[in-house]
């Protein structure tokens, strides 16, 4: 279940950034996860539910964008939708291709609530 360790990494980064910004709380987080990143959505949802307990993300709304895999053939440069790493180029059938999208594992943004003292 590496999804859980990914969730814990996300919590770490989010809490650090939130504290740096002097936030009182985090209300939302936006993630980008590539479909070729080895993250399994169902396992990730499960890990999230358990992992965020007692963290600043416990009550944050999560927006997860899953990004399609995209390959570029090293032989004929065709770009194509890549659903698995062993998918041949649809144009020339070669297996030598570069992954140009779909490996993302990113925190895009955080919505925080700032402490305001008057």
């Amino acid at each position: 279940m590496h999804e859980l360790s990914i969730v814990l990494n996300i919590i770490d980064i989010a809490e650090k950034e939130a504290k740096k910004a002097d936030a009182a709380s985090i209300s939302a987080i936006e993630l980008s996860i590539g479909k070729l990143s080895t993250i399994e959505p169902v396992a990730f949802d499960f890990a999230w539910k358990h992992g965020v307990k007692n963290s600043m993300l416990e009550h944050a709304r999560r927006i997860t964008n899953y990004i399609d895999g995209k390959g570029r053939c090293n032989k004929c440069s065709t770009e194509f939708l890549m659903e698995a790493l062993y998918q041949p180029c649809p144009q020339c059938g070669d297996y030598f291709s570069e992954i140009i999208e779909g490996k993302e594992l990113q925190i895009k943004s955080l919505r925080i609530e700032e402490k305001i003292e008057t």
Partner: protein, 266 residues
């Protein structure tokens, strides 16, 4: 205090409980506790959007680069060994350490969820080894390796083997700073293994196919296994071996010696 990674502790936590630091990362307090006796009108909170665009594994990537820098500076060949449980990582190490004792200098980091059995097997060959128990964690990360290396102090021009936790999914995501990633599969696992675990075969440079002594007894098609793996990674190099009979180990040893020489002349 760990100066290199700033984690505020020495290597103790590595050996005990993997990547959890003693200072609890996940507790916090909201410091808003003034009284409301003052009669003004105000908002306590204000929404703000922080654009981060930050890689989740950014920290691991930084520490992996540090490890790699250290290995390069000391001309150490660091090899990350990955496989399913039972494919023969430890046995391949035992053979290699015994057979190349006179030729190369070695040390070993052993990753395991619970036990120190593998480290004991390595130490029995007379090789310096440290054990990292990852507990529930199913992989090693660059931070654990950094502390293990501080403890091991590998010699210049040596080979550092890192036996990862037996798991073909998750260790593929964690760069340890190794120079070479070697994936092991055994003939008892089936020739479709690469297709089932493409990421690991995609990120490795060498594939060892172990237990060839069992080929007469299992329905394993060597050509098909190699063909499957090449679909994922056309540059993968293959070494079919048997750790029990020693068949094929010579080619693996030659490759290993070449890595050390390559670093020395690079």
């Amino acid at each position: 205090m760990c100066i290199t990674c700033g984690c505020g502790t020495d290597e103790a936590h590595i050996v005990k409980d993997g990547h959890n630091h003693p200072e609890n990362h996940h507790t916090h307090h909201h410091g808003h506790t003034h009284s409301h006796s003052h009669g003004h009108d105000h908002h306590h909170v204000q929404d703000r959007l922080l654009h981060l665009e930050k890689d989740v594994l950014h920290e691991n990537a930084l520490l992996a680069e540090r490890n790699r820098g250290y290995f390069d500076a000391k001309e150490i060949v660091a090899i990350n060994l990955v496989s399913s449980p039972g494919s023969g990582k430890t046995m391949l190490l035992e053979c290699t350490l015994k057979d190349l004792k006179e030729d190369l200098s070695f040390c070993v980091i052993e990753g395991d969820q619970q036990t120190s059995l593998d480290a004991d097997r390595i130490k029995a060959t007379g090789t310096n080894a440290v054990q990292i128990n990852t507990g529930k964690g199913c992989h090693l990360d660059a931070h654990m390796v950094l502390h293990a290396v501080q403890e091991l102090k590998p010699k210049e021009n040596s080979v550092l083997f890192i036996e990862n936790v037996g798991n073909l999914v998750c260790p593929s995501m964690f760069d340890l700073g190794e120079n070479q990633r070697v994936v092991i599969m055994s003939v008892t696992e089936g020739d479709d293994k690469p297709i089932k675990y493409p990421d690991m075969f995609h990120t490795s440079g060498v594939c060892i196919i172990n237990k060839t002594d069992l080929l007469p007894y299992v329905p394993f098609d060597m050509d098909k296994a190699i063909e499957n793996a090449r679909k994922i990674n056309p540059e993968l190099q293959f070494f079919p071996v048997s750790c029990t009979t020693g068949e094929g180990l010579g080619e693996w040893y030659n490759w290993l010696k070449k890595q050390v020489r390559h670093l020395q002349t690079a």
